[in-house]
């Protein structure tokens, strides 16, 4: 094995990949959220459709899309590999184990939360991304694909809203742990800054997930 | 056999230098042809194993622990002395030497102690280089504190866990040699017999504690670094596994046992709370730097306190007797351990003890807290206070600590010459396992110093002198003596397992402990010692006829391990009593009630007892033969220790 593969297949090496991709995905969430805020513009979806048209056609964005795919891919693959390895490190378990007395549940459930998010992601991708990119959406008044209408009709179905809001709750807990955890894994732990990072992590997780969750709720209840 | 201490000629300060020049050297290319066995991997053992391996010898190291890092050296709290004079307070090699000789009540060898003081400075340098995180001043230099019995600040420390940090240093050096393949490490292996071939130590027999397998190992020399035998008292500050088995097996093969009655009772331990008690916990002596020792002035007041009619706070200042400060104004609470212990016992014997049992005195930090503030005090002693609170559920920031003396260290041990070789050629003893440097009482922060001095800086020179005198031909376990020793171990184990009596090894151990503590403890007298001797003999007979064990040899059998150790303690105990009976004087930790000054201080008899009592085994249930090594004092004047 070369030093490169050795580095990135070591326990810390894999963690570092998870951390870097995780923090990268956090930046994606911000961009995604900010863009989607166009949904709230009361213009029958014109602005949103311009935005989604731009995202679907701009060559820079299209290139970055692949980076995003790689980010997701590595984040999921490395996390999965680590989870398997960690599970295997204790073949015989405890008869009586009370982890709730020493740690928060979501920190211990990152793999589960991640899996839930992945399931959501597949549904979400199929529903919006796939149909926007490869589907046959009707044009809107500006002759852009009318993704807005698809979003609105989707969010009129209760089970869809439930799925989305549920996924955001999972994502929120995933982020509360993941945000600060990413810094810790990259070695960025400092008596001065770590408490600040923790607070930012909480705010980030809540704001981002509340933002995303507000969309289906808004359309279900107010439109 | 004639006891030749092999002390080099010449002025005291030059002896070690000259000796190092005069010892024979082993050719560097030949060192790898010599095998050395080291039993015990505490400070003395791990440092020796690492240093000898660095020189090129093949080392086999043995410990009954699961890792060398668990040896009981780890529990030493206070510190390690070194004559660095970093504090510019008048310390010197000679002063450390002088303090140690005096502290030991003039029952140790001048030459050994001087060497110890000389190499003490190298130990600190070595440990710092290994990354031992000693306490430091704000300027980045090493910090010192003063310790019981010394009027200079020469003690280096790492908060309250100096022992752990020093041991981890030695353990890391040892680990490096294990990784290099120069040390073969045998963990969970207990030495149960010494193998002597043609009068020379040639190997050992061990039991693998996990599988029960009995193994033999051969080497050109054997070093015992197995610690002290304080657990003969059952309750002591020693770890539960500490035992005398390795040196005792060697003793029965011809190694003389020196000054067995010299045991140190440490003044600041957490008192016994009940019969179930399995061990006693030391509170570092450093606490006496700021804590003030007191009991109520009157018996009546103490009784009311014990009965719960009054509380500590109800006792006004003038009703408190700070007895150490009162009796020893110049040393105050910092008098040596034997003096502090005996005075605590005296106060309790007068009925002035505190706590539910009345067997405790106060160690009070109220003044220190008032003077320096809680923060400063907690910085110095925080971990000790926390430990105290965990055990007693009392907060020492609010209530004074209750302390009582407990067995802590054994100055006696295998007799060794200046080269640390026992009376069996090729068998060495280092650290607490030998008798050499502390006389009748050890000063605080000296045990770590001695263990590391022996291992890092003495044995590496002196063992070469012995090895160079034999050809570098391989040694094997083929000799009949190995078979014999192995069979003896098997037979002994089977005997223990086949008694099938009614009493557990711990019951016997506790019973022995009571006899020893009551009659051969802090103070002794002829009548009590005679009684103890008979009691021990009786207990030993009962042990071999009424011991109960279950299980087999071929498995992890912890009760079997204990039984083997208790069997040896039952023999050692009698020798300690014999030694105490023989020594018709009081000195250091050995206080014979018949021999005291009008002020109840120890009364030495230099005329008749300025010797090392080295005992030779003569056979089961036979009286041992006493050999005397006269102690020569050419550089210090023998005076009565005065700490007033």
């Amino acid at each position: 094995m070369s030093w490169i593969t050795k580095t990135f297949t070591s326990s810390i090496g894999r963690k570092v990949i998870v951390a870097i991709t995780g923090l990268f995905l956090c930046t994606f969430l911000v961009v995604h959220l900010v863009g989607n805020l166009q949904l709230f513009k009361d213009d029958g979806g014109a602005a949103f459709n311009i935005y989604s048209h731009f995202m679907g056609t701009n060559p820079v964005i299209r290139t970055l899309e692949w980076v995003l795919v790689l980010g997701f891919g590595f984040h999921i693959y490395e996390s999965y590999t680590l989870a398997v390895r960690n599970r295997a490190a204790r073949k015989v378990g405890y008869v009586d184990s009370r982890p709730s007395e020493n740690s928060p549940w979501y920190s211990r459930s990152m793999a589960l939360l991640g899996t839930l998010i992945l399931i959501f992601l597949i549904v979400h991708m199929y529903n919006f991304f796939y149909r926007a990119r490869f589907g046959d959406l009707d044009p809107d008044i500006n002759n852009n694909d009318d993704l807005y209408t698809l979003v609105v009709t989707s969010f009129k179905q209760w089970w869809y809203v439930l799925l989305y809001v549920g996924a955001q709750i999972a994502l929120c807990y995933h982020l509360i742990h993941g945000f600060r955890s990413g810094f810790q894994t990259l070695g960025l732990n400092h008596r001065k800054y770590t408490p600040i990072i923790r607070v930012i992590g909480y705010i980030f997780a809540i704001v981002v997930c509340a933002g995303f969750a507000s969309m289906p709720l808004y359309f279900y209840f107010f439109k | 056999m004639n006891l030749d201490s092999k002390i080099p000629e010449g002025p005291l300060a030059e002896k070690w230098e000259k000796h190092k020049f005069n010892v024979k050297l082993v050719n560097p290319a030949n060192k790898r042809k010599y095998d050395v066995i080291i039993v015990g991997t505490g400070l003395a053992g791990a440092s020796a194993a690492a240093s000898l391996a660095e020189l090129g010898y093949n080392v086999k190291a043995f410990t009954y622990h699961d890792s060398p890092r668990r040896a009981h050296s780890i529990a030493a709290q206070g510190g390690i002395n070194a004559a660095k004079n970093y504090q510019n307070d008048g310390d010197s090699v000679f002063r450390l030497f002088y303090d140690t000789i005096k502290g030991g009540d003039y029952r140790s060898r001048e030459a050994n102690v001087y060497r110890l003081a000389q190499v003490s400075v190298n130990i600190i340098d070595q440990c710092v280089a290994q990354g031992v995180p000693f306490a430091r001043e704000y300027g980045g230099l090493l910090a010192n504190r003063s310790f019981g019995g010394a009027q200079v600040s020469r003690t280096f420390y790492a908060r309250g866990q100096t022992g752990q940090q020093l041991l981890l240093g030695a353990y890391s050096a040892l680990s490096r040699q294990i990784a290099y393949g120069k040390v073969k490490m045998y963990t969970r292996s207990e030495m149960l017999e010494l193998v002597v071939v043609d009068g020379k130590a040639r190997g050992i027999v061990t039991r693998n504690l996990i599988t029960g397998e009995i193994e033999t190992h051969a080497a050109h020399a054997v070093v015992l670094a197995t610690g002290g035998y304080g657990n003969v008292f059952y309750l002591s500050t020693n770890a539960k596994y500490c035992n005398v088995t390795a040196p005792w097996r060697a003793h029965k093969k011809g190694a003389y046992f020196a000054n067995p009655c010299f045991t140190q009772i440490h003044p600041t331990c957490i008192p016994v709370s009940g019969d179930y008690q399995s061990k006693l916990t030391l509170m570092s002596e450093s606490l006496r730097n700021d804590g003030r020792v007191w009991v109520p002035k009157t018996k009546e007041m103490a009784e009311r306190l014990r009965g719960g009619q009054i509380r500590v706070a109800d006792i006004p200042e003038e009703e408190r007797d700070y007895f150490l400060e009162r009796k020893y104004p110049s040393f105050g609470n910092l008098v040596p351990r034997d003096v502090a212990s005996r005075n605590a016992k005296q106060a309790c014997d007068e009925g002035r003890g505190v706590g539910s049992t009345g067997l405790a005195v106060y160690l009070d930090f109220a003044d220190a807290i008032k003077r320096e503030g809680v923060d400063k005090v907690s910085q110095k002693y925080g971990n000790l206070f926390a430990m105290y609170e965990k055990i007693t559920a009392e907060n020492p920031y609010e209530l004074p600590m209750r302390i009582y003396p407990a067995v802590h260290y054994t100055m006696g041990g295998l007799w060794v010459d200046y080269n640390l070789m026992t009376s069996i050629p090729g068998l060495y003893a280092t650290g607490e396992c030998n008798f050499s440097d502390h006389g009748a009482n050890r000063l605080g922060a000296s045990a770590l110093m001695q263990g590391l001095a022996d291992g890092y800086f003495v044995i590496p020179y002196t063992i070469g002198d012995y090895l160079a005198q034999m050809p570098p031909t391989p040694v094997t376990t083929q000799h009949a003596a190995f078979k014999e020793a192995e069979e003896a171990v098997h037979a002994r184990t089977q005997k223990l397992l086949s008694i099938k009596g009614t009493r557990t090894p711990n019951e016997f151990h506790k019973a022995l402990g009571h006899i020893m503590w009551d009659h051969c403890g802090m103070s002794r007298n002829a009548e009590g010692l005679q009684f103890a001797k008979q009691e021990i003999q009786k207990l030993r007979r009962e042990f071999w006829s009424d011991l109960k064990l279950t299980g087999t040899n071929e498995e992890l059998n912890q009760m079997l391990e204990i039984a083997g150790r208790v069997a040896d303690f039952l023999e050692l105990g009698e020798l300690m009593v014999d030694d105490a009976l023989n020594r018709k004087e009081s000195c250091g930790g050995h206080f014979r009630e018949e021999y005291q000054t009008p002020e109840n201080e120890a009364l030495r008899d230099d005329e008749n007892f300025a010797y090392v009592a080295a005992w030779e085994w003569t056979g089961d249930n036979q009286p041992e033969t006493l050999h005397k090594e006269e102690l020569q004092f050419e550089n210090v004047k023998l005076t009565q220790r005065s700490y007033k």
Partner: protein, 261 residues
């Protein structure tokens, strides 16, 4: 004055203890009753009582690791009621006292669980993996003798204190036992931090972290997911900062060392 209370009421307890004859045999939980346990006893003294009872009845006593019984040797290693070293924070098993339990309690006692810590017997486990990790680089390569004077290397007090805090690790393995992933990173990082912080440790700084992490992985410990169970259960309070420092050391060593292997 609970610590000195002659009237503390004795307790009767039910113990559920893991019994396993040796490394290769199957184990199971066996139930025992112990009576008249004083609240002043340490947990291990309570087990002593059980073992004396068992032996007198002709049963085999429960094997468990212990030695100094003052919280420093790191030998004791019991998983008590679902927690490494039991319910009290910052406490080794030997320093846990029975006053933390109540009359009538049922207490489950298990050995540390991790593939890297195989069970020797009953509650005793083999932690030699820790030794092998230290052997991979947890030292400063200086031979005895020939070192500079102790005061020739001034070390800022805050750095010395930090190194000391990392060095207080007692290698008990509670971090591994408590971790969902059976990860040893708190243990390994404590040693790496200690030596990386000190000037003496700089020379071998890169090889040390590379080799120790490689050995840690080889022993079969899991990987850290920053849950913090290790630090929460650590009896001597080793901080998670050490793990971050180790990660940093590892990343920088891998990026800059000339080690191609």
């Amino acid at each position: 004055m609970a610590g000195n209370n002659p009237n503390a009421k004795p307790m009767n307890l039910t113990l559920k203890v893991w019994r396993q004859r040796n490394r290769n045999s199957e184990g199971k939980i066996v139930e025992y009753q112990v009576k008249d346990i004083s609240p002043e006893m340490s947990f291990l003294e309570m087990l002593d009582v059980l073992n004396e009872d068992l032996l007198l009845k002709g049963d085999e006593p429960v094997a468990f690791d212990h030695d100094c019984r003052e919280g420093i040797c790191g030998s004791c290693d019991l998983f008590i009621n679902g927690r490494a070293h039991g319910p009290e924070k910052g406490t080794t098993t030997c320093q846990l006292h029975m006053r933390k339990f109540s009359d009538g309690d049922t207490i489950t006692i298990e050995p540390w669980r991790a593939n890297a810590f195989p069970v020797n017997r009953d509650l005793s486990v083999d932690r030699s993996a820790f030794d092998r990790i230290i052997q991979a680089g947890g030292y400063i390569s200086v031979n005895t003798g020939g070192v500079p004077d102790g005061n020739e290397i001034p070390i800022p007090k805050n750095i010395a204190d930090k190194a000391f805090e990392a060095a207080t690790c007692i290698s008990c393995g509670a971090c591994v036992a408590a971790c969902k992933n059976a990860s040893a990173m708190l243990f390994v990082s404590a040693k790496i931090s200690q030596l990386a912080l000190l000037p003496q440790g700089q020379v071998e700084r890169k090889t040390r972290v590379e080799n120790m992490v490689a050995q840690m992985d080889k022993e079969g410990f899991g990987a850290c997911t920053n849950i913090g169970q290790c630090a929460a259960e650590c009896p001597v309070g080793i901080s998670l900062e050490n793990i971050a420092l180790m990660n940093r050391e590892f990343i920088s060593a891998k990026a800059t060392s000339e080690n191609l292997a």
